[in-house]
Structures are given as structure tokens and as C-alpha cells.
């Protein structure tokens, strides 16, 4: 680390005490005075540098910039100052590097020149470090070349590999010119090829030899080869005895083997994958490596998958089975994890084998080898928390007869009649999960014959219950729900079972509650919240079962508060319902902080400004930690800790950290953070600190930047089969984060920044007319760019599927507004009335009307469940409506501000230029004024509706009315014959009986 990072650089020891003291005290005027004197007396340019450095710390802009001019002169004159001077200059310039002064144009070249002239000095290393920390790859590569030459015959091998890796990094960096890119690519590959050949051809390498020795060096070679070499070269080397994947495995090195297989899989080189897996697994059996060294599930999967794709797949699959059998024979020596991997490998191979190979007379009915294998696996592992997840994908592959056999014959026989009660309950919970899974598998349905002319909403017949059904068999779900609730109640009513729960991997009631909850959500007709999902939740969804699901899961969370899956599920459900404060209460204990924020924060904060802007703005903004994470992690231009990786010779780490850093700088979550915060602030009329483009976090983001979404949906429970969407897709407000949505958010903020820009009050230009002209040009250029960019993103084929309908309207409106403003500001007064403007404003008004129709209830009577028909409209107001309402408000506000921007512009021009020539067209003004008025009315409507909502909530007793939505009025018989509502109610009430004194949702239990 350079000394300047810790404070002022130390002056040379030859500098006198007086000057030293003044410098260390920061007494800059004295330093300037003394250094001027010393420079004159001693004729040493170092004192000039001290003087300039001190001047740069003074307030004057001229003095501050004098340093930059001096550096620029040095760079242009190709002069090389001494290292102490460079250190002084770098320290003095440290604040400029964040503001468009590129290190690569200033200090970097000076450092590179100095290191080239003094490669043997330890300070040359410091030059490399400085260049790397400022991510000046051009200078760093030059320095590393100098260092490599100077230390070519030493045992410190790092210099050679620093040079290679920096050449490679430069070749894939935007810092490299297109002309040089190929040269650097070739240079990196050829140097490594030479090193690889030396290793292959030498009996033994010494540390001073320029071959490949360590695992990191070898893996670097393959990474570079994969990027810049040919597939043939890669494959040829991967098969070689010393540097090949198997050779490395023999030396206990697994990284190359795994990375090699990944590369081969992408290329579809199945024969080689098969051979490598076979050889690697044989090494373990022979004792060349530890027995289970490569016994990972993914190796077995690749082995089986590759075998099925080879030319002679029958014998290859037989080989897979034979190898696996040998591992089964030594399974007893393995740890529990590898035993399980082997059991899963057995499952995997059974499912990859052609049916004829498993059983020549196989008719895909009944007790097939696949069912037997699942049975054997569950026999061993059904009590494990992950058992369902382990078998889920295999069960979903079974034919219907196999499924029937598994559920009716195999599963019940796993335990004897006299087995432990708790184990039986665990098995029962697993059975419920599998039954739910079956309802999501298409093989449980068969098409219904359609009678001529008859239209049916139930196009299928359920093969399980034989009832006519739509894609989802409600009858099976209801029966499952009732059964699960019976089991749930059985547990709660049995002290012995309750006492056994802590000894189990997981509380079976949790699984049962999840089955019941997701079944209810399906019964409520909830659909994945894709772009074509209706804006109103209750338009398609039945409130009763939906709210029963929420109530039931909420009740369960009180029983098992430590379960993160359930907690996250509920957070999403409450967000969907618009209960943001409560969702936040549930979110807080998850303690999503620091590093995991990038992947997990969108689960709560995405679209939060449209649900509850008040929650995230104020004296202690909730998104502060998220913004701090990015500001802290991306403060430097280089990847975090990159120098550590260079020092340690961790070459693959350097490559991975660079890639990770690049993704983090392009994070959709980061853009979400900035946009959501600003929207929330704007919603409350707050002051936005700076323009979105001025944030250091957005400095390198332009339309070509591919913003990366890394949201982690891993912690959600997922009982669904691969044939349908995951549960989280049903629960979020709309499509997840995406490049297109993030860009549109970024562009819309830029547009709003343009509208709200006001020059500083103390800015009084001498030539106001010239400045006004330039301002106008800038505005027109910005509008042209924004209009074009927004149109491009909006017209991308996938964009509509990545936005909610309300978002789509909002962004479309902003795109139209930028076009409207462009016309308004660029049409000369003397021209005829611009027809295109009226067309655009008409489209804007139509968009606004569309949003009003969706978001405001009196425009659109909401279909709702029975109880809500007699309730005020606000009782059926959920997160989806709030989101649309917020989008309407944002759209109306943007239109209002746009109109105001045009009118103010005109007034300003009239005030400046009394001739009136620079003012705007009369028709334009009329059009924009009318548009502003329409938007004003909409904004007022939103305000009025929010006021009504507030009043409704203040009335009291609303919770009772919500509870009526859950189970209906006491006199209603919502239960029907299926007994679903009663089953849910009994579970909830049962829990309440076990826990007294709860308010809120718990009051519902009083009915039971």
C-alpha cells in the first residue's frame, strides 16, 4: 500500500527540519515560502515539487490545478521525475482521480517510466501497486514487463506471472486499444504456451525455470487458453500427462479437473468428459488419490450424462454402473456426505439409463427400477431435511403409473406399523409434499374429450382423483389440505410427538404448513406475477383462500420463528398485500447486511418506493446500509483486495475478483438502490442530493453497459416441479430485476434531473445570451439522447415482459415526454403549429388515462370476493394497486414538471430577450399548459384517494372486516363440502389455544 493512503508522504531526509515541520503540520503557506527559498538556493527541483504540492492544498483553484499542469508537462515531455517527487504529486492529486483526471494519463505513465529506469529498486514494486490500485492496467503491464526482465533468473516467479496476467487482463480490458488487443492476447497465450511446453518436457523444474509449477500457474494457463486459445489446444493440453486434468488430480489438485469439465460441457465434448470422469473415479478406487476425492454429485452427473451421449452409450453406461458399484462396495468407509452422494449417483444413473437397459420388459408401469431406486433412497434419507429436494426432480420425471406406485405402495412401506410415531409423522409430512408436487406435474392430468361445440373450462381429467379439472386439480389440493391439517392437529394434540420435535431435522408442522399455505395460494388462483398479470390482485385471486394462506403461514411463523424460508415467503406475501410495515418487521430479523445485501436486498426493497416511500426516506433511511455497501466496496477503481492476490500469487483469484468487481459495478441491485431512494424522496417533495449521473457509482454506466441481476432466490421454499414457475414468481409484485428495467430507471431519473436542474444562485454569467444559447443546446442534446435511449430500451422485444403494466406506462410516458419537450424547445415560433407535438401529447394523455383507469378505484370497479362486495373499496386495496397508484402519481408528476419546465423556459427567454424571438411557439405553450392541467388533476385525484384510504384505516374495526374476508361471516357457509376453510381455521385456532394473549391476526381463532 502506498504511504499516501495513510497520510502525507514523508519528505526526503535531506530536507531541513523547518520545512519538514511545516509540511507535517500542514502549514502550507509556510511550506510554499520555505520551499521557494530552498529551490532558489539549492537548485533542486524536488523543492519545486514540494512547493507545488503545498500550493495544491491551498484554496485557490489555480494553485490546485497547477499540479495537474506540471504533471501533464512531465508526461508530454517524456521526463521521469524521481520517485519522491512522484509520491508527492500523487498525494497532492489524490482527490482529482475521482473527477475525470485519469491516473492512466497522469501518474501512471510517470510511475511506469520510473520503474523502467529502476527495475531493481524495491520501489518499482510500489509503482506497480499504485498503478494496480488505480486500475491503470496499461502502466501496470509496462511495469510488470520491466520487473520480469529484471528478475528473469530469480526464484521469485511472481514477476513472470504478473507480467503474463497483466498482459491478459489488459487484452480483455476496455483500456486496451483495439489495435493492441490482439497483440496482448497472443503475447499472454504464447508466454504461457512456452512455459507449459517447458514443464511438459522437463523431468523436474526448478523454481528459477520459467515453466508452470504451482496449481495457480497451471490454472492461469488454462484460463488464458480458454479465453484466447483454440478449443483444440485446450483439449490437447487437458489430456497431456503432466499438465492434464488427470495428471493434476494425481498431485492432489482438483481445480483444473472441475474447470476443465465445465469447459468441455459447454463445447459438448461428451467423449472426453466421459473418459476423464472414468479415469478420475478410478484413481480413487486404485488409491492414487483419496477414495472420495472426486466423488461429488456433479462429477457423477456429468459421468452419467456423458455416457448416455457417447457413440456406444450402452457399454459406456454399463461402465458407469460398474464404477458406481465399486464405490457402493466401499461406501462404508465414506463420510455421511459421500454416502449420500453415492446414493444420489445411483438415482442419477438409474434415471439416465434408457428404459430398455433397466428392464427389457419394462412397460413404464408400476414398480419400475426408477421407483425402486427412489424408494431405496428415501428408505435411508426420508428423515433428512433435504430429502424432498433431493428426490423432487426425479419424482417429477416418473410416469403416472410409477408415481401411483411410489405413493401408494413404496412410500407407505418405508416404515413398519410399529415404527416410532415421530418418524411416521416425518414420513407423512414428506408424503404431503410429494402429493403437492404431483399436482404440479403434467403427467397427473389427461386431456378431456371435447364434445362438439361445447366449451369447457376444465380441459383435463385428473388421473389421481378422476375429476374434471383445469391445469391444477383443485379437488386434489383440497383433499391434500384437509389431510395435512389433520396431521398437523394430530401433532399438536400429542404430547409425545411435540416432545420429539426438537430431535428431528425439522419441525414437520412447518412442512405441513408450507403444503397447506401453497395449496391455498394455488386454490386462490394466484398466478405468477409476470408482466401480463392483472394489476389488481383481487381481479383474479380469491381473497378467502389467499388470506387463509397468509394467516396460516403467519401462525406457523410464530411457532417456528427461526425458519428463514417461511419468513421470506411471508415477507413477499405481505408486500403483495401492501402491508409493508409488517413485512419490514418480518424482514428485519433476517439481518441482511454487508456482503449479502447485493443478492438479497431486492427481495424486500425492489419497487419499495411504490409501496411505502415513507419507510425508506427520513432521518434514518433504511436503504442507507445498502448504499454504503456499494460506496465502500466500489470506492477504489480496482477490485477490492486485488493487491493481496498479486502479492500471494493467486492468479485465478485475480481473474475471478476482477470479474466479480465488474459485475458489482454493474449491479441491478445497486441501480435499484439509487433509483428507489430518489423516488421515495421525490414522493415526499424532499431534496435530492445530486443528479444520478453524478454518483460515483454510476460513472461508468452507459446504454451499452449490461447491468447484472444477481438476486438470490435460493432461500425460498419450493414445492413446485420443474414444469412450472417457482413459488417466488407467484409472490413478487412483478418481474424481477433486469438490465432493461434498471436502465429505464436510470434514464428516467436522468430525465427528471434535467427538469429539476437550477443553476446556482450566485452564478451570474457575463454574457447571459451566450450562456442561454449553450444551455438550450445542452438541453436539446440531452433530450435527444434520453428520448433515443428510452425508446431503444422500451422497444427491445423482451422489455414488456420485464415490467409491470404500470411501469411500462410510466416509462413510455417519460419517453414520450422527452420527445415532446424536444419538439417544444426546438420548434421556432415562426413555424406552423407542430402536428407531431399534438400527436405525442395525445399519446401521453392516453397513457395517463390508462393508468388512472387501473389505479383509481372509481374508474374501475374491482371484482372482489364475496365479503368485499359489501366492504369499502379500500379493504380490497393491496400492494399491486398501491404500486399502480404510485406509478400514476409519478407519471402525473413527471408530466406536470415537464409542462412547467417548458413554460418556465419560455418565461425565462422572454425576460432575457424582450424581442420575444427566442420564446416558444404559442401552440406549444397551449399544448403543454393543457397537458400540465390534466396531469395536475390526476395528481390531485391520487392525493384524494390516499386521503380516503387514511380515513378508512382510521375508522377502526377494519381488521374485523379483513378477517371476514378470510373465513366469511359467521353465518356464511363458505366451507362447502370440502372442509378446507374449517381445516385451516382449526389449525390456526389450535395454535392459538396453545399460545394465549396474541392480538391481531390471532383474533380469528376466537371463532373456533
Amino acid at each position: 500500500m502506498s504511504s499516501y493512503r495513510y497520510g502525507r508522504p514523508a519528505l526526503k531526509s535531506t530536507v531541513d527540519v523547518q520545512l519538514q515541520t511545516a509540511f507535517s503540520d500542514g502549514n502550507w503557506s509556510s511550506v510554499v515560502r520555505l520551499a521557494t527559498k530552498r529551490a532558489a538556493t539549492l537548485k533542486d527541483p524536488y523543492y519545486e515539487a514540494i512547493k507545488m504540492c503545498a500550493q495544491s492544498q491551498l484554496d485557490g483553484t489555480l494553485e490546485k490545478c497547477a499540479m495537474l499542469v506540471a504533471i501533464d508537462d512531465l508526461v508530454k515531455a517524456k521526463k521521469t521525475p524521481d520517485i519522491d517527487t512522484i509520491e508527492l504529486y500523487e498525494w497532492a492529486c489524490r482527490d482529482f482521480f475521482d473527477y475525470e483526471v485519469e491516473y492512466a494519463d497522469t501518474l501512471g505513465p510517470l510511475r511506469a517510466r520510473w520503474a523502467k529506469a529502476n527495475p531493481g529498486s524495491p520501489l518499482a514494486l510500489q509503482c506497480l501497486q499504485s498503478c494496480l490500485e488505480n486500475w491503470d492496467l496499461v502502466s501496470a503491464q509496462q511495469i510488470s514487463t520491466s520487473l520480469d526482465k529484471a528478475y528473469a533468473n530469480t526464484s521469485d516467479r511472481r514477476y513472470m506471472f504478473w507480467n503474463i496476467i497483466l498482459t491478459f487482463l489488459l487484452s480483455i480490458s476496455p483500456q486496451c486499444t483495439d489495435a493492441s488487443r490482439k497483440v496482448y492476447s497472443l503475447l499472454a497465450v504464447r508466454q504461457l504456451e512456452r512455459a507449459a511446453d517447458l514443464t511438459e518436457n522437463s523431468a523436474k523444474l526448478e523454481a528459477t525455470d520459467r515453466g508452470l509449477l504451482t496449481e495457480e500457474e497451471i490454472c492461469l494457463y488454462y484460463r488464458v487458453l480458454h479465453s484466447h486459445g483454440t478449443k483444440e489446444e485446450f483439449i490437447s493440453r487437458l489430456k497431456s500427462p503432466k499438465l492434464g486434468a488427470i495428471g493434476q488430480l494425481k498431485d492432489g489438485r482438483k481445480v483444473l479437473f472441475c474447470e476443465g469439465l465445465d469447459a468441455l460441457e459447454k463445447w459438448g465434448e461428451w467423449d472426453l468428459i466421459y473418459n476423464l470422469c472414468r479415469e478420475a473415479l478410478t484413481l480413487g478406487l486404485e488409491g492414487t488419490t483419496a477414495p472420495f476425492f472426486v466423488c461429488d454429485l456433479q462429477i457423477w452427473r456429468k459421468f452419467a450424462s456423458a455416457a448416455s451421449k457417447t457413440a456406444d452409450s450402452d457399454s459406456a453406461l454399463a461402465e458407469v454402473q460398474a464404477t458406481l458399484k465399486k464405490y457402493v462396495d466401499i461406501k462404508d468407509q465414506a463420510s455421511a456426505m459421500y454416502k449420500k452422494n453415492i446414493s444420489l449417483a445411483l438415482l442419477e444413473t438409474t434415471f439416465r439409463l434408457p428404459a430398455t437397459a433397466l428392464n427389457p420388459n419394462h412397460d413404464n408401469a408400476g414398480l419400475s427400477p426408477r421407483v425402486v431406486q427412489i424408494g431405496l433412497f428415501l428408505d435411508q434419507y426420508f428423515e433428512r431435511l433435504s430429502a424432498f429436494d433431493d428426490v423432487k426432480s426425479y419424482v417429477a420425471e416418473l410416469g403416472f403409473d410409477e408415481l401411483k406406485k411410489l405413493m401408494e405402495d413404496v412410500l407407505p412401506k418405508i416404515l413398519d406399523e410399529d415404527a416410532d410415531k415421530a418418524r411416521k409423522i416425518v414420513l407423512k409430512a414428506l408424503e404431503c409434499k410429494l402429493r403437492y408436487l404431483l399436482t404440479t406435474c403434467p403427467q397427473s392430468l389427461s386431456p378431456q374429450p371435447v364434445v362438439d361445440g361445447e366449451t369447457k373450462d376444465k380441459l383435463f381429467q385428473c388421473r389421481i382423483c378422476a375429476n374434471a379439472t383445469s391445469l391444477l386439480c383443485e379437488s386434489c389440493l383440497k383433499k391434500l389440505l384437509v389431510d395435512a391439517s389433520e396431521t398437523y392437529k394430530q401433532i399438536n394434540g400429542d404430547k409425545e410427538l411435540l416432545a420429539a420435535i426438537p430431535r428431528l431435522d425439522k419441525d414437520p408442522r412447518l412442512d405441513l404448513a408450507l403444503v397447506m399455505g401453497t395449496s391455498l395460494l394455488k386454490l386462490s388462483k394466484l398466478q405468477p406475477r409476470t408482466s401480463d398479470a392483472t394489476q389488481s390482485l383481487w381481479q383474479d385471486v380469491e381473497a378467502g383462500p389467499f388470506l387463509q394462506a397468509v394467516l396460516l403461514l403467519d401462525t406457523q411463523l410464530r411457532e417456528t420463528p427461526g425458519d428463514t424460508e417461511l419468513r421470506l415467503l411471508l415477507v413477499q406475501l405481505y408486500l403483495l398485500l401492501g402491508c409493508v410495515s409488517y413485512a419490514y418487521q418480518l424482514w428485519t430479523p433476517l439481518d441482511v447486511k454487508r456482503t449479502i445485501q447485493d443478492s438479497l436486498s431486492p427481495l424486500f426493497f425492489d419497487r419499495i418506493s411504490t409501496l411505502s416511500p415513507g419507510l425508506i426516506q427520513g432521518p434514518r433511511p433504511l436503504m442507507g446500509p445498502l448504499r454504503n455497501f456499494y460506496e465502500h466496496s466500489l470506492r477504489d477503481k480496482s477490485p477490492v483486495r486485488i493487491w493481496d492476490a498479486f502479492s500471494a500469487g493467486s492468479y485465478t483469484s485475480i481473474l475471478d475478483m476482477t470479474e466479480f468487481d465488474g459485475n458489482l459495478r454493474r449491479s441491478c441491485t445497486m441501480m435499484m438502490t439509487l433509483v428507489e431512494e430518489r423516488r421515495a424522496t421525490r414522493c415526499y417533495g424532499g431534496k435530492i442530493d445530486c443528479e444520478i449521473e453524478e454518483y460515483i457509482l454510476t460513472e461508468n454506466i452507459n446504454d451499452d453497459t449490461n447491468l447484472v441481476g444477481k438476486t438470490d432466490y435460493g432461500p425460498f421454499p419450493n414445492l413446485e416441479s420443474v414444469h412450472g414457475p417457482s413459488i417466488h414468481e407467484y409472490l413478487r409484485l412483478g418481474p424481477g430485476l433486469s438490465n432493461e428495467r434498471s436502465h429505464l430507471g436510470f434514464l428516467s431519473e436522468q430525465y427528471l434531473d434535467l427538469l429539476s436542474y437550477k443553476p446556482p444562485k450566485d452564478y451570474k454569467p457575463a454574457n447571459a445570451s451566450a450562456v442561454a444559447l449553450r444551455d438550450r443546446e445542452y438541453t436539446l442534446e440531452t433530450l435527444t439522447r434520453l428520448s433515443s435511449s428510452m425508446t431503444t430500451f422500451l422497444h427491445a422485444p423482451t422489455t414488456p415482459s420485464l415490467l409491470t403494466p404500470a411501469e411500462h406506462t410510466y416509462y413510455t410516458t417519460l419517453s414520450l415526454l422527452s420527445a415532446a419537450l424536444l419538439i417544444a424547445l426546438s420548434t421556432p415560433r415562426s413555424d406552423p403549429s407542430p402536428k407531431t407535438l399534438s400527436m405525442v401529447t395525445k399519446s401521453i394523455k392516453t397513457a395517463l388515462t390508462t393508468l388512472r383507469t387501473t389505479a383509481l378505484p372509481h374508474h374501475h370497479p374491482r371484482p372482489g370476493p364475496k365479503p368485499s362486495s359489501s366492504s369499502p373499496a379500500w379493504t380490497s386495496y393491496t400492494g399491486t394497486e398501491t404500486h399502480a397508484l404510485a406509478c400514476l402519481h409519478a407519471t402525473a408528476t413527471a408530466i406536470k414538471h415537464s409542462a412547467a419546465f417548458v413554460l418556465t423556459f419560455h418565461d425565462r427567454e422572454l425576460a432575457r430577450d424582450r424581442s420575444g424571438r427566442s420564446g416558444l411557439h404559442r401552440d406549444v405553450l397551449a399544448e403543454m399548459k393543457a397537458l400540465g392541467e390534466v396531469a395536475g388533476k390526476s395528481a390531485a385525484e391520487v392525493k384524494g384517494w390516499i386521503q380516503k384510504l387514511k380515513e378508512g384505516l382510521a375508522e377502526g374495526g377494519w381488521l374485523d372486516r379483513v378477517l371476514d374476508l378470510v373465513f366469511g361471516d359467521q353465518n356464511d357457509d363458505q366451507d362447502g363440502e370440502d372442509g378446507v376453510a374449517r381445516a385451516v381455521e382449526e389449525v390456526v385456532a389450535g395454535e392459538r389455544a396453545r399460545r394465549s394473549g396474541r392480538g391481531g391476526w390471532w383474533r380469528v381463532g376466537g371463532r373456533a
Binding site: M337, R384, D505, I596, D598, S599, S633, V640, D656, K710
Partner: protein, 190 residues
């Protein structure tokens, strides 16, 4: 169910199964990346079939600064286990043990004298786990933790510094049988 491999920075986006567990600490980005940068072979993960990280171990190789070479508390070249965690759903499968063994292999490959770690003296489960793996208490670090895990009335808690000798320590010079009797202050630990 599990694959064992070296950590990759992208795994930080898949940590939820481990790090949403309240007993697993989430660190700053620089902390994870420091370990990956300096000691990649001592940062191992277990992942499930969907790519979720269900266990990981972070370790480092170091010795005490040279200035302490003649101190009685000087630590020679050794590996240190900084963090090891397994997701709730993947427990009781020996993943923690396998990860620790992998770190020990890396420690041997780097010629370390021993592997050490700190554990709360009240974390009996972890202490038993490490003892079963051949670790023993080398010393007790008084008031090492700033808060007590089980007793809110106490403002600190002691730690056991546990060690397991590696192949280099043929004579078992860096372990002792009566480590519980050797107490040191946090300032003696580097």
C-alpha cells in the same frame, strides 16, 4: 447433494442458506475477498445441486510478526480456521468435518506446524466436534469475546485456542495436554 470445491467470489451471491442462519456472521466484502486473495486453497465451499452454498470454511496461513519472535506467545507458521459454517438443511452429514479436513490438507501442503481456531468455552458442541477431529485445547484466552453467548449479565466470555498438529510437527511440540490450565490475555493473541 453436495459438491466440494474452492470458493469463487460469485458464491457470495449464493450464501443465503448459510448466512441467513443467525449463528453465521456476515462480513464485509473485503474480508471474504482478503481470504480468497491470499489463501484461496483454504477457502472451500460445499454447494447443493442448485448452486446454493450449503457450507464453507475460511482459513489463513500465517505466523506471528517477527517482532514477537522471542515472545512466549509467538506462533510459528500455521493455519488458522477463521470461520466454518454449514446450512441447517445440510447438517449431520459430516460437511463441517470434510471442510475442516480439506483445510488440513491445504495446511499440510503449505508446511504448517498446526491448525488452530478459537471457540467459545461454552460452545460444547463445537468443542466436542473439534476434539473428535484431533484438536485439543492449547490455551484459554480470557475475555476474548466482547459479549457472553448465554449469560446476558456477563460482559465477556473466554475462548479456547484449540490446535491440531500437522505432519510437520512430528514431535508434537506445538500441542499440550493441559491447555485448559494455560491462561493468556487477548493482547497475547495475534
Amino acid at each position: 447433494m453436495a459438491n466440494f470445491r474452492r470458493f469463487r467470489p460469485d458464491d457470495l451471491n449464493k450464501l443465503s442458506k448459510c448466512n441467513l442462519d443467525p449463528f453465521t456472521e456476515t462480513y464485509e466484502l473485503g474480508f471474504y475477498l482478503q481470504y480468497y486473495a491470499k489463501w484461496p486453497s483454504l477457502f472451500q465451499v460445499a454447494e447443493d445441486q442448485h448452486g446454493n452454498i450449503i457450507g464453507y470454511i475460511m482459513g489463513k496461513l500465517e505466523s506471528s510478526p517477527d517482532v514477537y519472535r522471542f515472545s512466549e506467545h509467538y506462533l510459528p507458521w500455521h493455519a488458522h480456521i477463521t470461520a466454518v459454517t454449514v446450512a441447517p438443511e445440510a447438517r449431520r452429514l459430516g460437511i463441517g468435518k470434510l471442510l475442516t479436513e480439506q483445510l488440513e490438507v491445504a495446511a499440510d501442503a503449505n508446511d504448517a506446524w498446526f491448525v488452530d481456531l478459537f471457540v467459545r468455552v461454552t460452545n460444547y458442541k463445537a468443542i466436542t466436534f473439534y476434539k473428535n477431529m484431533g484438536y485439543s485445547v492449547f490455551r484459554v484466552v480470557k475475555d476474548y469475546y466482547g459479549e457472553h453467548s448465554t449469560d446476558p449479565s456477563l460482559s465477556s466470555e473466554d475462548a479456547y485456542d484449540m490446535r491440531k498438529p500437522m505432519k510437520r510437527d512430528v514431535k508434537k511440540e506445538h500441542v499440550r495436554d493441559d491447555g485448559e490450565k494455560h491462561e493468556v490475555d487477548p493482547s497475547d493473541v495475534w
